[in-house]
Amino acid sequence: MEAKNSVRREFIFPPYLLLLFPAVVFMLLMYAYPFIASFTRSLIDAEGNFSFANYAKTWELYLKDILFTFAVTVFSTAATGVMAVLLAVYLRFSQSFISKILSGLYKVPIFIPFVVVAQMMNSFLAPHGLLNIALAKFGLINIDQPLQLFNFTGLSFGFIWKMIPFSVLIIHGGFQMIDDSYIEAARTAGARLFKVITKILIPMSKSSIMVALVLVYSQIVGTFTLPYMLIGGKSPTTITVDIAHRVNYFRDFGVANTLGVFSYFLVLFTAIYYLRSSVRKMAEDKLVQE
């Protein structure tokens, strides 16, 4: 990682240290200790010895839930990403009156806290909730056999509903930074819309898209209120609900923290891809600058 061949003004020691100092120190103080405590706690069994007993128990009881959490998170993030990009493309290109309305409308879910979204979805997606009642009124389903949505489907719907606006805001912001001249140039050279999207828009705003995806992914993994209200104690459920169960009924911090470690690794593996590619990109940028 060190630059051997001297890259111009690469390691100016003071500036970045000063700039980073407050934020990093704050995080280390506030978060590092509780986090490390959680991590070590997961490795201590009921008798107080260092062991992997908690991991064994977690694997035995909660593997299904861990996989379920992973599946919901990946699916919701991917779906969010695709739809957010499409919506952002639309907003980037359309100057119509309708797009102006849409650009205000889509932001609404951002302001609704997750705990409220949980309430809403609980009432909306219920077998005799608003969605099913309306579908029945239009004759699309039989009210005695309503759509069962307190599961993967409903949960994903809730997550996607909340996360698309967030993603669009970030991705659209990235699209905005791409000057019209690039798009014009591509258009004049004969590129069709699809090519413009895949060859210009997405590559040039890669960092915005990746940031949106990483933040969405990590938010979904850590959410408690939505899965708790929609799925609660049913199986399979998410890691966060199981953690609450372990803590509240058993005060079993060993397993609770172990579940947390699993969740942490779920995020780590996806984030690693982003971080590696961003470091690589930076290196590319520097080379280009030269």
């Binding site: 970045y16 909730g129 990483v214």
Partner: protein, 275 residues
């Protein structure tokens, strides 16, 4: 040409209707519950509507079976905490985001990941540990303690979004200013900052909303003396739909106002803006 335009417009209208339904329809249950006094199956709509719960929520009427907690003070407390949190968070996040974007820092990836961790590790176990530490430091149950927790979770959005924003700014802009003799600081404030403004303000909005909506950490650290709006929501949620819906609607207001405020400041000067 005429029909192509018509096709596009009709598609746009369909899109608008679909998005409208998808967003507003689930919210309808919130609005309906907030004014439902009696609602049980098999009625599609409440048997009886009224503003009872609104009155009780706002303290205009005393409540019996429903805990009409001090919502109005909680509202202002949440608001004030959020504003302080935004200012402090952005003050430390902007330089950090900039440094991570512009300089090649050893372990830069690791440091960036450090700022993602509060989202990555489920909150409950970690915040329990934080409670113990804060109690020893005398910060438990204080507003200062809660503010610290909010900054912690706010920095995730603060650092990551500012980082992405600064990354997207072509470096040659700042270089150009520097090459005509502008000092580093001046170049930053005159060129980079305005260009980055949309992203930075988006970041601020998210920090604000995160603070306003923050619950788990606030709950652990704030008890028994600090009562924020999400805590009052938790108190009633799951038990009393009407009350929960009222509080939920109340929670929407400051976020929307803040966004409007930001958008107002951010008007025509900046190309595109955030929406």
């Amino acid at each position: 040409m005429f029909s192509k335009k018509m096709l596009i417009v009709s598609l746009e209208i369909i899109l608008l209707v679909v998005v409208f339904l998808l967003i507003i329809w689930p919210m309808m249950s919130l609005f309906i519950w907030s004014i439902a006094e009696t609602w049980y199956w098999p009625n599609t709509l409440p048997q009886k509507i009224g503003f009872e719960y609104w009155k009780q929520a706002l303290g205009l009427q005393k409540s019996l079976a429903i805990g009409a907690v001090s919502i109005v003070p909680a509202f202002f407390l949440s608001l004030m905490i959020a504003m302080i949190v935004v200012v402090i968070s952005m003050l430390i996040a902007i330089p950090a985001g900039y440094a991570l974007a512009k300089y090649r820092i050893p372990f830069g990836g690791f440091i960036l990941f450090l700022f993602l961790m509060p989202n990555a590790f489920p909150q409950q176990p970690v915040f329990v540990n934080l409670l113990h530490i804060f109690t020893k430091l005398g910060l438990a149950g204080t507003v200062q303690g809660v503010i610290l927790v909010h900054i912690l979770v706010g920095l995730v959005f603060g650092v990551w979004i500012t980082n992405a924003t600064f990354k997207s700014i072509p470096p040659h802009m700042e270089e150009a200013a520097r090459s005509v003799g502008a000092g580093k600081l001046r170049a930053f404030f005159r060129i980079t900052l305005p260009l980055a403004a949309p992203g930075l303000l988006a970041s601020a909005v998210f920090v604000f909303i995160t603070s306003l909506d923050e619950f788990t950490g606030t709950f652990f650290v704030g008890l028994p003396f600090v009562n924020t709006l999400p805590m009052t929501l938790y108190s009633s949620s799951g038990y009393n739909m009407q009350f929960a819906s009222v509080i939920a609607i109340i929670l929407l207001i400051p976020s929307i106002l803040f966004m409007a405020l930001i958008q107002g400041v951010l008007k025509a000067e900046y190309v595109g803006g955030m929406g």
